[in-house]
């Protein structure tokens, strides 16, 4: 116990640094995947059979295979197989590859949620708007958009909570996120070795962050509760 207390400041410092990288991946993923998901959703609903078939196949592949494999392929495939390392070396290269894998993966999940939200709006809303002389654009922005947002907030929230935890998968390509930071004290780092507790302790960070997310996303959901 005493030993843990001694190790605490060093470990916390390292875990904080790791968690910063975790958060960076988290926000970059959201920033990229939320809009890209909309593009993919529109693609999968496209009237052009080629576009919709192509998009749906990609979504099927991405959602049907483990994110961990996707991370490995995206990080290693260009360098080891094609002999054209596109990610660059070091931590920044790993971060770039991880970002691309996460954005692609989450965009595919988001796209299915968006699609449900768009197609879930009753046809009558369009027709009521048209009959009242609104343009399709006005109908989208003034009638349907908010209803769509309301419909997708709960499932998107679920994905966001999963994303917090999924970032740990980037450990597989040695991204120096919080799991990597916790594990380093097992092998030995900054004079501490053979310590397993820092790795266990990382769970606290995820819990706290997900707690914050629960509150924030719950508020958004509540703000939209004034209508049904």
């Amino acid at each position: 116990m005493e030993q843990i207390l001694q190790q605490m400041p060093i470990v916390i410092g390292a875990l904080n640094t790791g968690f910063l990288q975790t958060l960076k991946l988290f926000f970059v993923t959201l920033l990229g995947a939320l809009p890209l998901g909309l593009v993919i959703a529109l693609g999968s609903m496209s009237r052009s059979l080629v576009i919709s078939l192509f998009t749906r196949t990609i979504v099927w592949i991405v959602r049907g295979s483990p994110l961990m494999i996707q991370l490995l392929i995206i990080y290693y495939f260009p360098g080891l197989v094609l002999h054209t390392p596109i990610w660059g070396g070091g931590e920044s290269g790993r971060f770039l590859a991880a970002s691309v894998a996460f954005i692609l993966n989450y965009a595919c999940y988001f796209s299915e949620i968006y699609r449900g939200g768009i197609q879930g709006i009753p046809r009558g809303q369009d027709e009521a708007g048209l009959v009242l002389g609104m343009t399709p654009r006005q109908i989208f922005f003034h009638v349907k958009l908010l209803q769509m947002i309301k419909a997708i907030v709960p499932p998107i929230s679920n994905e966001i909570m999963t994303l917090v935890k999924d970032t740990s998968l980037s450990r597989i390509i040695a991204l120096q996120e919080i799991i990597w930071a916790g594990q380093s004290f097992l092998k030995g780092s900054q004079g501490i070795s053979g310590a397993i507790w820092p790795l266990f302790f990382t769970a606290v960070y995820y819990l706290v962050w997900n707690g914050i997310m629960t509150i924030v996303l719950g508020r958004v959901e509540k703000r939209l509760n004034y209508f049904r």
């Binding site: 009558g124 027709e127 708007g129 048209l130 009959v131 002389g133 209803q147 209508f227 049904r228």
Partner: protein, 262 residues
């Protein structure tokens, strides 16, 4: 002169002919009831008039102006189509109110968006919007909903929702207001309040086309009645004539079925 002239409207979905040579006229200030069994094409006819469907053939004229002539199809620009649409209003069976807006906002929304196209909009924005709101309040009052103006659709009963929908349609001053089974989605005890406001509109000489299964109401409120059967107009005329002395066998059968049900 007739405010609405419909000539030889024809419409098929795939191989099924849903409207077959529909022709009729409607005088300004008069009420027309459309009756007929389900699947006879009543909804499709209203949807054609409101440009939600395009007929395969036929002519639609409002106050003499040709809105649609499939013999001389012109390219409909979106803006032109929108202007033509505004000659008609449509009240849906399922209300189709906008859930995220209050009753008052439901009534003002379309008008306030249209007002943006006025050249003096920027200059007089406040006055224009205030006027739209005052007018909407009047309509809601007329519908007996003055104290419900700030409620959202989910806080209103079905009958109240339908009355908001009627006010919303009236706000754009359509030449002809169409109703597609306005009380069919309502509990029986709520149909009365909706029928009452439609009756009041008829007394104020609003030009209306009403699809309904409320036979007593159709007979009472209408100046003309059209009985549709299998996509055709089977019989039309004065409601007392059609209801009490139907000429066609199909009309007799249809009306007999309704009498039995009650």
């Amino acid at each position: 002169m007739a405010i609405l002239e419909v000539e030889h409207i024809q419409k098929s979905f795939g191989a099924t002919r849903v409207l077959d040579d529909i022709s009729f006229t409607l005088e300004k200030g008069k009420t027309l009831s459309l009756i007929g069994s389900s699947g006879s094409g009543k909804t499709t006819l209203l949807r054609c008039l409101n440009f939600l469907e395009t007929p395969d053939q036929g002519v639609i004229r409002v106050t003499g102006e040709v809105l649609l002539d499939m013999a001389q199809p012109q390219k409909q620009t979106a803006a032109l189509l929108r202007k033509k649409r505004l000659h008609f209003g449509l009240v849906f069976q399922s209300f189709n109110l906008f859930p995220q807006y209050t009753a008052l906002e439901n009534v003002t929304l379309a008008g306030s968006l249209l007002a943006r196209e006025r050249p003096d909009y920027r200059e007089h924005k406040k006055d224009i919007l205030a006027e739209l709101e005052a007018q909407a309040m009047d309509l809601l009052t007329q519908m007996g909903l003055r104290d419900r103006a700030e409620r959202y659709p989910h806080q209103l009963s079905g009958g109240q929702c339908q009355r908001v929908a009627i006010a919303r349609a009236l706000a754009l001053h359509p030449d002809i207001l169409c109703f597609d089974e306005p009380t069919s989605a309502l509990d029986p005890e709520l149909t009365g309040e909706v029928l009452r406001v439609i009756r009041e509109l008829a007394e104020r000489e609003t030009t209306m086309m009403i699809v309904t299964h409320e036979m007593a109401f159709a007979r009472d409120v209408a100046d003309t009645v059209i009985f549709m059967d299998d996509g055709k107009i089977c019989e039309q005329g004065d409601p007392r004539e059609v209801f009490d002395h139907p000429k066609e066998e199909r009309t007799r059968q249809f009306l007999a079925r309704y009498r039995q049900e009650r």
